[in-house]
Symmetry: C2
Subunit: 336 residues, 2 copies
DNA sequence: TTGTATGCGTTATCAG
DNA sequence: CTGATAACGCATACAA
């Protein structure tokens, strides 16, 4: 592969001159500029990004570590990041953490080694301490979907507690009084926070949630189906199902329908996330909209700003997002 | 950030020795090895991947350009690639083409500049000639979801023509005789090939497809809905809808149901892709399974093999995949 | 077992 | 306007 040297030799000029035309340097005569450009095209010259990154002491790229690639809204997240990356002419370096602390750590370290100037990490397995440590090492480090008080200015996150409250309130407003909850078995914050939000809001209406009304399983379709089945076996009395996310809600719906229930006439179901699935399961799922793409864009912008402008003082209060209710057809209004 | 030099100085040894312990070089005494390792950890040393790539003349990474990130099966594709990348300790460099020839070209060139040793590109906008050109420049270049005869050994692709035939045959076998087709308006190969497959198979049963029986639109939900609406307005006589993909099929189903048709009793609908959507629309969609994850894995393995082993002679016949019928509930058997 | 020297492809700082 | 030349961080052939 042709280097700057080859084309310098071919053109009978010095390396410096060639470098100047590559970088649109100011002081080159139009004649030589054109001649060199022609030669570059001729030889199929492509600047070596690695050499460049080495000498410039930074890699114009944005590193992304995702908790898991199979996550349905990963595509949306990636799309958001990509849109700002393109605009800034930044390359994307992608790693997946696969929800293992070890792999996540490895993924982040790899990004470090590449000297990415900005980094967006969606960590589900690493502990706060480790993350804080990382955040302190690179200016452009941003956490998405996670809030750590010590590094609040690096966090773009969703208020899950408020989300849980919104779900409960919405159902309450629709006249429901007897609930059942499908939660995620993963030992991460989100499920706990949502659950706390639900419980607290319910408590305001003097409703307690007992352990028998909660089932945990994997936060996907199957998990939702199994959790629902467990609950059904106990034959609890309820009119509404509050699911950890849309996938679990959809799984629950299948089980419920196969058990002969009319939805939403007999039982209402509420999801969380507002992924595509929510619009296509029947009945169409009422859910909470998770503004993941906006969050991704914000995270990318923040990461770039922080890495570029060292004096930048972020406004921590601006990086919290709140989900909003999307009312479709899976919830029956009992008050009418 | 600490460099190899810093740690050499700190340890009172030469650069070479440090480099050896980093690369697990063979000739270092255990004592110094341990001492150096300790110092590395102490100083938080991280090898500079860019410097490494420069001197080794190759970047241990696999470049991926995707036609579009919002594509529903992009996540699946990425997941397949990622699984083999991890196994081989390869970093993923991601670019999106956004279905614009210019952007796609730029995406590929960026990957070139980074000297990725393997590249997997999903191009929808670039012409054959350009792609052939690229393929000849890097050994580890692989095209996914596209077949170009001149570089057949770089192509991992799905036989869309056979797929179209399978759809038609399946419907024919279920007693259907009157069809309507929802195709994609994008000027790329897939829709044409599928359509040809459909037409040819239908022709074997002496059925011709007229222009009024075909509607083109965007290959997504909305497009499917609109295409279906167009057809409905013309009030053609049909018992089965053949859609370009699951998304269009789902869009069509919405329109059909809102128009008061009973599905699948009155009208059967067939999709293509077998994405998650197919399992969750009602009636559950009968479709063709697109083995995208396997294809991604194969593409990654091929790309790595080609880049590693220059003598490797690929077996072109092994990189064609064939879709298979997934029978669910959206097709009524008219022969019973 | 360890050290020295050189080069990878660029950019950038000086001189001309 | 152009040309030498010194970094950048690391690997490696060759010496010691």
């Amino acid at each position: 592969m042709a280097t700057i040297k080859d084309i310098a030799k071919e053109a009978g000029v010095s390396l410096a001159t060639v470098s100047r035309v590559i970088n649109n340097g100011p002081k080159v005569s139009d004649k030589t500029r054109e001649r060199i450009k022609a030669i570059m095209k001729d030889l199929g010259y492509r600047p070596n990004a690695n050499a460049r990154a080495l000498v410039k002491q930074k890699n114009p790229s944005i590193g992304v570590v995702l908790a898991e690639l199979s996550d349905p809204f990963f595509a949306t997240l990636a799309h958001g990041i990509e849109s700002v990356a393109r605009e800034q002419n930044l390359q994307i370096l992608l790693s997946s953490g696969s929800i293992h602390a070890k792999t996540e750590r490895k993924a982040i370290e790899t990004l470090f080694e590449h000297r990415c100037e900005a980094m967006i990490v969606h960590s589900k397995a690493l502990d706060n301490h480790t993350l804080i440590d990382f955040a302190k090492q690179v200016p452009g480090f941003v956490l998405i979907n996670r809030y750590i008080p010590e590094i609040a200015d690096c966090c773009v996150w969703l208020d899950n507690y408020v989300g849980g409250g919104l779900m409960a309130r919405h159902l309450l407003n629709n006249g429901h009084q007897k609930f059942v909850v499908l939660s995620s078995e993963y030992q991460i914050n989100d499920p706990y926070e949502r659950l706390d939000g639900i419980k607290d809001e319910l408590a305001k209406a003097n409703i307690q949630l007992s352990e028998q009304q909660i089932a945990c399983d994997k936060p996907d379709l199957e998990g939702g189906a199994q959790a629902m089945q467990k609950l059904l076996n106990n034959k609890p009395d309820f009119t509404a199902v509050i699911a950890y996310n849309d996938a679990m809600a959809a799984g629950a719906i299948s089980v419920l329908q196969e058990a002969g229930y009319q939805l939403p006439e007999q039982i209402s179901v509420m999801g969380f996330d507002d992924v595509m699935l929510a619009r296509f399961c029947r009945p169409k799922l009422s859910t909470l909209h998770y503004p993941i793409e906006e969050m991704a864009v914000k995270a990318a912008e923040l990461a770039i700003e922080k890495s570029t402008n060292l004096e930048f003082t972020p406004d921590p209060s601006g990086y919290k997002f709140t989900p909003s209710i999307v009312s479709r057809q899976s919830i029956k209004n009992l008050t009418q």
